[in-house]
């Protein structure tokens, strides 16, 4: 079991040569059986394990990860948290997530640097303003915070934006002050350390090669480290959901796409919070190390390659220069690609499958990071009690058959448009 972190502890260790620090989590061997197995040692899987142990008293739990924990999308994203959603199926869920973020450090005894510096969506046209006002109102009616800023207010708060020769002038913005950023890797490590300290086994370098299903019941998983039995198996491998679930002969309302993200060289602080361009594909924030962390649209074609191509890089930088011409001489330092579970309506799925004992969590599109706590919470709830969590009732597999899509963007059944 891991001992607590604290400022005093850091000082004490510093004075005694840091001899006392122990591994943040154990490296146990797999047990033959667990009550619950979570496939996927990313943010969602590790969060699920943490809440299973902490909220639902389940500790005979394993998280199995094919590589190293936190190596997927939680380790390669633009670290934004927000709950600025429009539809009733989404907003309460993401607001729940934001509330969990707000208490995360205390909950995990790990400083993931949740930084609520605010997020603003810029508005460039009248119909866009109408849509954002509708969204802001939906947020407020759901108990979240939202603020409409007119052009003058935006100019005051973000004087460095392009108000002079913008092709699509800034006409206002919708702000959520409680939005912000989080040190993404620390989220995975914090959940892992906490889950581990509550008895959860984290099994790294353990790849699932198949499900053992007899009589329509899932009995466990075949892995590169042998068969592991389980009462219930929860899949949380967004990005690779298609690959994994095909082992259970399931086809999903999901395509895998690549989303690129970028970081600039470290710069002295210039950005107050997260800014989203409304007339192109660009959103940006600045990390605590000073790098501009930014991204845009997905490349748009199915891919598991974890890398993208130049046209999207250029498109993102064009949009960036369109609203922030002062970043022209800042240099793009790193670019990377993550695999996104792009779902058919742009919203996730947290649901049972038709196979008893097999549960699914995925379809996060590129909104997965901000959802990490609530997703883990809701998935833990479903796994522990076999019924959906209050905030995740709408995330069903059958919503496409019944016509209850949750389509924030109104793009229909074309995943790369969400």
């Amino acid at each position: 079991m891991t001992s607590r972190y604290s400022g005093l502890r850091v000082i004490k260790e510093a004075l005694t040569g840091h001899k006392g620090w122990r591994p943040a989590w154990r490296e146990p061997d797999p047990k033959p059986y667990y009550d619950i197995i979570i496939i996927g040692g990313g943010g969602h899987g590790l969060a699920t394990a943490h809440y299973l142990a902490k909220i639902y008293g389940q500790s005979n739990v394993a998280v199995i990860e094919k590589g190293w924990i936190g190596g997927g999308n939680v380790g390669r994203n633009t670290t934004i948290i927000r709950s600025n959603y429009l539809l009733d199926g989404n907003e309460p869920f993401y607001e729940h997530s934001l509330k969990l973020w707000e208490g995360l450090e205390q909950d995990l005894n790990y400083n993931a640097m949740v930084s609520q510096r605010g997020i603003i969506n810029l508005i460039h046209s009248d119909s866009q303003r109408d849509a954002y006002i509708r969204r802001g109102n939906a947020m407020r009616l759901n108990g979240a915070d939202a603020e409409y800023l007119d052009e003058a207010a935006v100019r005051k708060e973000y004087p460095f934006l392009n108000f002079n020769d913008a092709r699509f002038p800034i006409k206002g913005g919708l702000a959520q002050r409680r939005g912000g950023t989080v040190r993404h890797d620390a989220v995975a490590w914090g959940y892992a350390r906490s889950a581990d300290s509550q008895g959860v086994d984290i099994l790294q370098n353990c790849e699932v090669t198949g499900f053992r299903i007899d009589g329509g019941v899932c009995k466990g998983v075949e892995t590169s480290r042998g068969f592991i039995g389980a009462g219930k198996v929860g899949c949380a491998v967004a990005g690779n959901s298609g690959k994994l679930m095909s082992m259970a002969e399931m086809r999903l309302p999901i395509e895998s796409h690549v989303l690129q993200a970028f970081v600039s060289e470290g710069l002295k602080p210039v950005l107050p919070g997260v800014i989203t361009f409304g007339a192109g594909h660009f959103y940006v924030s600045q990390s605590d190390k000073g790098g501009l962390v930014f991204g845009g649209d997905i490349d748009g074609y199915n891919s598991y390659a974890q890398r993208g191509n130049l046209p999207v890089v250029e498109d993102v930088c064009e949009s960036g220069m369109a609203i922030m011409p002062m970043i022209g001489r800042a240099r793009l330092l790193r670019m990377w690609g993550g695999i996104m579970d792009m779902s058919m309506d742009g919203s996730p799925i947290i649901d049972r499958t038709h196979i008893d004992g097999l549960y699914f969590n995925g379809g996060w599109c590129y909104g997965g990071f901000k959802a990490t706590p609530a997703s883990g919470f809701a998935f833990a709830h479903l796994l522990a009690l076999d019924e959906p969590h209050q905030t995740a009732k709408a995330y069903r597999f059958d919503r496409f058959a019944t016509g209850h899509m949750i389509d924030e963007k109104g793009m229909g059944n074309q995943p790369n448009l969400h």
């Binding site: 972190y5 604290s6 400022g7 502890r9 850091v10 840091h18 620090w21 591994p23 190293w68 936190g70 190596g71 380790g75 309460p92 450090e105 400083n111 993931a112 930084s115 046209s125 119909s127 109408d130 849509a131 954002y132 006002i133 509708r134 109102n137 939906a138 009616l141 409409y148 002079n164 020769d165 092709r167 002038p169 040190r183 890797d185 600039s264 060289e265 470290g266 710069l267 002295k268 605590d288 890398r307 191509n309 250029e314 930088c317 064009e318 369109a322 011409p325 002062m326 970043i327 022209g328 001489r329 800042a330 240099r331 019944t402 016509g403 899509m405 389509d407 109104g410 229909g412 059944n413």
Partner: protein, 981 residues
Amino acid sequence: MTQVNRLTGGQIDRESTLSFRFDGKNFSGHPGDTLASALLANGVRLMGRSFKYHRPRGLMSAGSEEPNALVELRSGARREPNTRTTTAELFDGLTARSQNRWPSLAFDVMAINDRLSRFLTAGFYYKTFMWPAAFWECVYEPIIRRAAGLGSLSMQADPDIYDKGFQHCDLLVIGAGPAGLTATLTAAHAGKQVILADEDFRMGGRLNSGRFTIDDMTGADWVTKVVAELATLPNVRLMPRTTVIGAFDHGIYGALERVSDHIAEPAPGKPRQILWRITAAKTILCAGATERPIAFENNDRPGIMLASALRSYANRWAVTPAKKVSIFTNNDDGHRTAQDLHRLGIKIAAVIDTRPDAPGSTDYEVLAGAEVANTTGRLGLTFVEVRQSDGSMRTLECGALGVSGGWNPNVHLTCHQRGRPLWNETLSAFLPGEDLPPGMHVAGAADGQFSTHGALKSGQQAARRALGLRGRPPAVPEAEDAPVTQTPFWYVAGCERAWLDQQNDVTVKDVKLSHQEGFRSVEHLKRYSTLGMATDQGKTSNLGGLAIMAELAGKPIPEVGTTIYRPPYTPVPIGALAGRSRGKNFKPVRLTPSHHWAKERGAVFVEVGNWLRAQWFPINGETHWRQSVDREVRQTRASVGVCDCTTLGKIDVQGTEAADFLNKVYCNGFAKLAVGKTRYGLMLREDGIAMDDGTAARLAEDHFVVTTTTANAAKVYQHLEFVHQCLFPDLDVQLISTTEAWAQYAVAGPNSRRLLKKIVDPAFDISNDAFPFMACGNITICNGLRARLFRISFSGELAYEIAVPSRYGDALMRRLMVEGEEFDVVPYGTEALGVMRIEKGHAAGNELNGTTTALNLGMGRMVSKKKDSIGSKLSERPGLNEAEALMAVGVQPKNAEDKITAGGHLVSADGPLDAAHDQGYVTSAAHSPTLGKMIGLAFLRNGGSRHGEVMRLASPVTDLTVEVEITSAHFVDPEGERLRA
């Protein structure tokens, strides 16, 4: 200040002198200098501060791998933070400023962090700053953020321009060292289109930095000769100052050419840089190798640098950081550096060689089996403490220490498509793996060919292999061919504060702590300790950290992992990736045929997609847009108005089965539409949701003109082609977009017919009987101009849309204004258009928002059950047909003074204002001059049967809550008498 450290020789032009400023002091250098070499020449060793501990730092390298000597180059709006002094070419008047220090580079108060270093270990911040919870936001984080970053932005718009371009070639050669040059020669002589790109401003690679001879000339002279020859060949494109930044799919490479960075500012109209997208059938990577350091206590002082860098500065730039230097090496190449320096008259204090069997020298002392234990010198190296083979300590006085730990091939681009480099035991280095990007070959030092001869030869061979050349190759020039072995020596045993990543201040101690806390995979190590995450992308630090982790884990290096490299090879200005698409040129503009006329009229324009449309036409005395819009509406409804609606998409649908085709893409029927008639059509997506609406006019049995909304024109055309090519390939139908071919104007209002009669040629009868509502046809106007006339109405008035070839649009508008004077004709813009369509209850973009069905829009009955059409089946799903489904309604304020806000939600009359009582939302709102109050269109649960109900319109974000009455969406002329008049 004079150039005290300038030596003889070198590839600089001593004829002319350049002056420059660093931190306010004046210095001088020569053409051919980099800022780094010029500063060294002037005796400057201290050039920067590290990120975390603010340690004094000088040059580590002579190339783009430089982690320490970064400056803010240039001033004002052209300030470039984090610029490497080692790659910045010197120009007259250059100004540079050191970074991340206060108040000065020599005295930086933040250096206190160095004293606190034991507290600021890897990942310390994850363990603290948590109490009290509120303090993170308001106390801790602001402090951390203030310390963030190195250089700072000017916060002004980048004044320079950037171009982008495309090139195609048979062979792209990356790197103009010995291998790259022979590869290029070979391909060039074979008549291939070749591009040779090199990041340096002088081609030749390390041949410029050493004293190698090729055949009977010096390496540098050989380079000059070869480059001169290549320059004369038409099929060769030489691109110095060009960094290939990434290898992308299918042989597409990104390359950044620095066109004007070597001069004070770009010539007028000329770009600062060009981003090239090079499509190469084959590629040869000749990126060379980077020398690797050895970690030892306090190995980061100014004056301590890579031995090869010392050699480059001495040979190429004729400078040395100090008159007396030592070398610390584990291989023969370190001795080569010592010899070169000795020849140039620099005193070698000693060569410290970790190997007991180190080669001796008669020119200087060699300490075999020795190692550097520590160093001293606060702002620059003064002494080196050496632990000799017998364990005794010895102190050497010297101002510079060259460190050589062997060489790492620059395999970066081989990894850009997730290829993995392979560990090579004899070189104890990673070499290019098997899974190279398709079409890529590797040669020279990048492929582990460390001897000059080996490099020359492998370049030629790679080119022959890549291009499949036959026949006997010409002889490879004579050059040194010493066998190279590298025995790993990563760090001096027992060192703690020994830097691996100098910019991010990651030391051996930090790697040990990461291991102790379980962050043992290379991915965890990087993320936890920030090793290799600095602006140098870990070029000199990753392998050292990896090696130490491997030792701690008791595993071979490849098992701990290889960090796979991603683009860009070196950081790229965001402006260069954006190119010309910025500011007003971010996206092309689309102008309507009446644009120039409208501009004369003083119209206010609005962006609609890429279109610029007249929003309203203010006239004298009008101080508020509402006045203009109300007038335009009133005048149109009272007499006649004209509006440019060219932006609506127009698609020509022809073919003997055109009608059958439209029957499939519209949910309502078109088979029976008569020639000369127009019909409103609603298009669904296959998922049953409304995609777009418009009209289809049947000009002939086999000819329709379909209109789309402005926003969806491209999407609808794409959809129609999909339905035709992919679903019904044997329908005889042809689709052509003709949006811009025709200038199309709405002429609306009770007097519209009388106005049109004045321009429509008499041969065409447009009376109500001859040309009733929804009629259409080809006509001529103004005595013979071809035109099309459609009797359709968006405003609800008697109205037409008339179309003429675009070139005559301007003239037609002017003519309508003249002929219309007697009717007091008014031009109206998109605002008045919007007001009138809301008054009439017509759906538009705000209603067709991608989530609404025909049912929601009040057109449920339009979806024909008699035929199959796109979307008809899935529109039948229960969730889309619930009793509580949203239905289009109108809303009016109970109190006529009250405001209606689009985006406001309809909440039940009583109960709390919350999601549970949310019943719908307002999509569009406007002030109706006709009704004298604000009105809106909305979607309301089961709205069809709730007319007359009173609800609350709540818009918390605009601080609005008003009582509204639910009404029909048709506020004006619900029976449609006017448009049939």
